[in-house]
C-alpha cells in the first residue's frame, strides 16, 4: 500500500485538495455565519471565556497598569510607602473607571431613549486577529437577541454591523474595515455616497459626484437606505475633498466620529427604528 501512487504523493494530493477547498470557500463567497462555517462559531465560543476574562482584567484599567509599571524599580526604603500609594492609586483608578463606565452606560441609555428602539448594550471583549482587518468581538450573541446585520453604535456615532453571531459572542465588522460599506449623506449639501473603510485605516466617501458641494467639516450621517443603519446616525465629518485624477467622482476623506481603538461599551440595535430625527443634533 505504501508504494502506491496515492500514498507516495499524499502530501501533494492533500495540499492540492486543501487549496481547492480554500478557493471554493473564497470564490463561493461563504459568509462567516453560513452553515459551512459552523466550526467558526464553535471557535468563537471556545475563546470567549478567555477574551471575557482578559477584557475584565484589562478593560479600562490601563491607568492601573501604568501605575504598576511606574512603580517598578523604586528604592527599597520607599517600597512600603509606594506600595500603599499604588494601592490608593489603583483604587482611585478603579473608581474613576467605574465612574467613567457609569457615565458611558448612562449615555447609552439616554441614546437608546432618543432612538426609541430596542437595543442591547454589549461589551467589547476582543479584536481582530489581523492588524489590517477591522473587526471586534462583543460578549453577547444570539442568546442575547442579536442577529446578523444588526447595527452597532456608540455614543459618538456608527461603529459597524454584526457579521457573525455565535450563541454568546458576536463579531462586528467596523465601518473602517475595507470590506465595509454604508450608505451616507452629507448633512449640509445632502450629497449622497458610500462610506467605506480603506486599507490604511480610515474612511472614504465614494461615488460622490464631482458637481456636489462637499466641504471640510461637513457632517456625514447615515442615509437609512442600506437597510441596516437607521437614518441620521453620525458617521463622521468630511476631512479632505479633492478632484485629483480623471473620473466622475470626488475623492472625499471622512474623519470617523468614533475612535475605533477605544471601544468598550456599545449598543446593538435589535429593532429597526421607523426613522430618526438626529440630523440637527450638535
Amino acid at each position: 500500500m505504501r508504494s502506491s501512487f496515492l500514498w507516495r504523493n499524499r502530501v501533494i494530493l492533500t495540499t492540492g485538495t486543501l487549496l481547492i477547498l480554500a478557493l471554493h470557500l473564497l470564490s463561493s463567497g461563504v459568509r462567516p455565519d453560513a452553515r459551512a462555517s459552523k466550526p467558526a462559531l464553535v471557535l468563537i465560543e471556545l475563546l470567549r471565556p478567555f477574551q471575557t476574562f482578559v477584557a475584565g482584567i484589562t478593560g479600562g484599567s490601563s491607568g492601573f497598569l501604568h501605575d504598576y509599571f511606574a512603580l517598578v524599580g523604586v528604592r527599597r526604603e520607599n517600597a512600603e510607602l509606594r506600595r500603599r500609594l499604588a494601592e490608593f492609586d489603583s483604587q482611585q483608578a478603579r473608581m474613576q473607571e467605574l465612574e467613567s463606565e457609569n457615565h458611558r452606560l448612562a449615555d447609552l441609555l439616554e441614546l437608546r431613549e432618543v432612538l426609541a428602539t430596542k437595543a442591547v448594550a454589549v461589551n467589547v471583549i476582543g479584536s481582530d486577529a489581523n492588524a489590517l482587518s477591522r473587526t471586534i468581538i462583543v460578549g453577547q450573541g444570539s442568546h442575547g437577541g442579536l442577529r446578523r446585520d444588526m447595527a452597532v453604535i456608540a455614543n459618538e456615532g456608527v461603529v459597524g454591523r454584526l457579521m457573525v453571531v455565535a450563541p454568546d459572542a458576536a463579531r462586528v465588522l467596523l465601518i473602517d474595515d475595507h470590506n465595509s460599506a454604508l450608505d451616507a449623506i452629507d448633512q449640509r449639501s445632502r450629497a449622497r455616497g458610500i462610506v467605506a473603510g480603506v486599507i490604511d485605516d480610515g474612511l472614504t466617501m465614494k461615488y460622490v459626484d464631482r458637481s456636489e458641494d462637499l466641504r471640510p467639516g461637513d457632517r456625514i450621517v447615515t442615509s437609512g437606505m442600506d437597510g441596516i443603519f437607521p437614518r441620521g446616525l453620525l458617521v463622521g465629518e468630511v476631512g479632505r475633498v479633492s478632484q485629483e485624477g480623471p473620473g466622475l467622482f470626488l475623492n472625499v476623506e471622512v474623519l470617523p466620529a468614533v475612535d475605533f481603538h477605544k471601544l468598550e461599551q456599545l449598543m446593538v440595535l435589535t429593532q429597526k427604528p421607523p426613522e430618526l430625527q438626529l440630523e440637527g443634533q450638535n
Binding site: A22, H24, A129, A131, S133, A196
Partner: protein
C-alpha cells in the same frame, strides 16, 4: 494526531493572545501574527499531510477572527505552507535564521494577500500607505519567531513528535 493536537492547542493560544492583547497596544501592527509563525513552523519542519491539514486549519481559524472573507486566510496559509516546505526542501535545512526570514516574508505575503483581496482599486495609493504597517508587523513577528519555534520544538519533544533535521 500528535501534531494536530499540539498545533491545535498552540493555535487557540495564539489566536486568544492576538484577539485580546491587540487592544492593549497603542497600534494594532505591534501585535505579532503568532498563528502565521505556527504555519511557517509547520512548513519548515513537518512535511506531511497532517501538517498541510493543520496549516489549512490555522488559516481557517484565523478567518474566524479576522476580516470578512471566509477562506482567504485558509488559502493564504496553505500557500505559505507550500512555499516554506519548498524552501526547506530546496535548502535541505531549516535553521532559526531561515525561519526568521521565512516568517518575515510570510507576514508580507499574507498582509499583501489580504490587502489585494480587498483592494480598493479606486484608491491605488492605499496599498502603498499600508506598506509601512505591513513591514513593521513583519519585523515584529519575525523577532518573535525564534521564541515560538523554541516553544513548539519543546512541545513537540515532550509528546515525542519527530521534526525534520534542524540546525538551530
Amino acid at each position: 494526531m500528535r501534531l494536530i493536537g499540539v498545533f491545535s492547542i498552540a493555535t487557540l493560544i495564539a489566536l486568544a493572545l492576538q484577539t485580546t492583547f491587540t487592544r492593549l497596544l497603542p497600534f494594532d501592527v505591534l501585535m505579532p501574527n503568532l498563528a502565521l509563525v505556527l504555519a511557517v513552523n509547520l512548513g519548515l519542519r513537518y512535511y506531511s499531510a497532517a501538517a498541510a491539514l493543520m496549516a489549512f486549519g490555522i488559516g481557517y481559524a484565523t478567518d474566524t477572527f479576522s476580516g470578512g472573507q471566509l477562506g482567504l486566510n485558509a488559502l493564504l496559509f496553505i500557500l505559505v505552507f507550500i512555499l516554506t516546505s519548498g524552501l526547506s526542501r530546496s535548502l535541505l535545512s531549516s535553521t532559526a535564521v531561515i525561519g526568521v526570514i521565512a516568517v518575515f516574508g510570510a507576514v508580507i505575503f499574507i498582509d499583501l494577500g489580504n490587502a489585494v483581496a480587498a483592494a480598493d482599486w479606486g484608491r491605488s495609493e492605499s496599498l502603498g500607505l499600508a506598506m509601512p504597517a505591513i513591514l513593521i508587523q513583519a519585523a515584529i513577528t519575525a523577532l518573535c519567531a525564534p521564541a515560538v519555534f523554541a516553544v513548539m520544538a519543546g512541545a513537540a519533544r515532550s509528546v515525542g513528535l519527530r521534526q525534520r533535521g534542524l540546525r538551530e
